[in-house]
Subunit: 138 residues, 4 copies
C-alpha cells in the first residue's frame, strides 16, 4: 500500500486537480483512474468540456499510473504526450483510465483513454499516448 | 477586422479560459498569442504550472491561429496535438505563441510554443504540434 | 469483397512495400495486418530493424485499415502519426496490426501495434497513433 | 571533430540508409542534414515518396543531430516521434534538416523538417517533433 499512499499524497498536492474538480477513483500498480464532473467553467465556446481540461485529466492519470510503478525516493515527470480527440466531451462526467504499456527504469509509455458518461452510457472522448520519466528526488 | 471579431467573440465564450485566467494579447492572420498569469490554483505537486493548464493555453492559441484563417460560417475543432515539455513551467506568467505552418481548406497544421516570463527573462516551457479542422457551422 | 480488392490493388502499387519486403497477411473492415521479414539491409547501426522501416510498416497497415472503411472513388492520405518505440526491433520478422479506433467520414483515428516474432515468442516493438484522411479521387 | 567522426561512423553502419540512398550532407553540433534522391522503389501508390521513407530520413537526421551533442561512450536511441505530413513528397530529392531544440543529459527534443527539391524550388513535405535518449554503451 506504500505506492498507494505516495501516489495519493502527490495527487492531493496538485492544486489544479482541485480547480477542475478531479478525483482519483482507482489506483493499482500501473493503472490509475480519475473522474471529473462536467461544469460550465470547464467548457469551450460550444459548451463541451475544453480539450485543455480533458488533457489535464488524461495526463494526470497517465502520470500516476507510471508513478505507481516507480520506487520510493523518486518523482514523475511528463516528457511528452499526444492526444487524439475522438468525440465532443459532452456528458455528466469524464473518466480517464490510464495504463502503463511499457514500464522501464527511466521511461514509461502510458496509454490514457478518456470517456464521457451520461447515465449508463459511455462514449469515447480522447486517447492519449504519453512518455513519463522517473526522476530521483533531490 | 472581421476575422478579429469572430476570433475574439469565440474566445470570450470559452469559460475555461476565464477559469485559468488566460487573455488574448495578440492576433493576426495565422498567428495568435495568449497569456496566463501564474497562480497557485494552476499548479501541480511541485509548485509548477500544471501541464494540463499549459496545454490548455497552447491548444487554444493554436486553435485561434487556425480559426483566424478560416472563412465566415465555420468553426474550428482540434483534431490532435502533441506536446513536448521542455522545462518546468515556473515564472510570473506563461505566453503561448501559435502560428499556422500549413494552411489548408479542411486541415491546418499549427505550431504553438509556450514560454515562461520572469522579469525580462524568457524561458521555453513547451512546444506543441497540432492539427486543426475547419467545420461548416450547422 | 469489393473493399478487399481496392485495398490489395492499392497495396500492390506501393513499390516501397516491395523494397522492404512487406506482405499483407490480414484484412478485414477496419483492420489490417502486414508482415516483414528481418533483413540486414533494413537495419540501423546496432543490427536492429531501423525505426524508419518499422514506421513504414505501421503507417501502411494503419492507412489500409482506414482505407478498408472508405467508400469507392476515394483514396487514403496519412495526416499525421505518433510512434513510441517500446523495444529494439529484433526478431525473425515484424508484424504490424492496425485497427481503426474512431471511424469518420473525413478523418479516421487508427492504432497500429508492431511486434517482433522469434519462433513462437512475440515481443512489442512499437505503438503508433495515427490520423488518416479520406480523399475524393480526382 | 571527434563528434563528426563518431556520428559519421554510426551513420555509415546504418544499412537501411544505404537501402534508401540517404547521404549525410551537413553536420554541426546539434544540427544534421540528410538528403535522399527520389526513386521509383521508394514510392507509395500514387508515385510520391512513401511516408515511411520520409520518416526514416527525418528520424535519422533527428537522431544524429542529438547524437552530435552526446559525450563519447554513448549511443542514441529514438524514444518517440510525431510526424505531420504537409504536402505530397514529390520532387528530385528530399532534404531533412534536424536541430536540437532542447538538449539534456538523458533526453533531447529535436525538430526535423523535410523539404522536397525540384530545380531551385523547395517545398515543405513534413515536420517531425522527436525525443531522443542518450544511452551509456555497455
Amino acid at each position: 500500500m506504500e505506492h498507494q499512499r505516495r501516489v495519493r499524497d502527490s495527487f492531493d498536492r496538485q492544486a489544479f486537480m482541485t480547480t477542475i474538480g478531479a478525483r482519483m477513483t482507482g489506483l493499482e500498480p500501473g493503472h490509475c483512474v480519475l473522474e471529473m464532473a462536467s461544469r460550465p467553467d470547464l467548457c469551450q465556446q460550444n459548451g463541451f468540456i475544453h480539450a485543455g481540461a480533458t488533457t489535464a485529466l488524461a495526463d494526470t492519470a497517465a502520470g500516476y499510473a507510471a508513478f505507481s510503478l516507480m520506487p520510493p525516493g523518486t518523482d514523475v515527470l511528463t516528457v511528452e504526450f499526444k492526444m487524439n480527440l475522438l468525440n465532443p466531451a459532452k456528458g455528466e462526467r469524464l473518466i480517464a483510465r490510464a495504463q502503463v504499456i511499457k514500464p522501464g527504469r527511466t521511461l514509461m509509455v502510458v496509454r490514457s483513454d478518456v470517456v464521457a458518461i451520461t447515465g449508463t452510457e459511455e462514449k469515447p472522448v480522447a486517447t492519449m499516448l504519453a512518455t513519463m520519466m522517473c526522476l530521483k528526488e533531490a
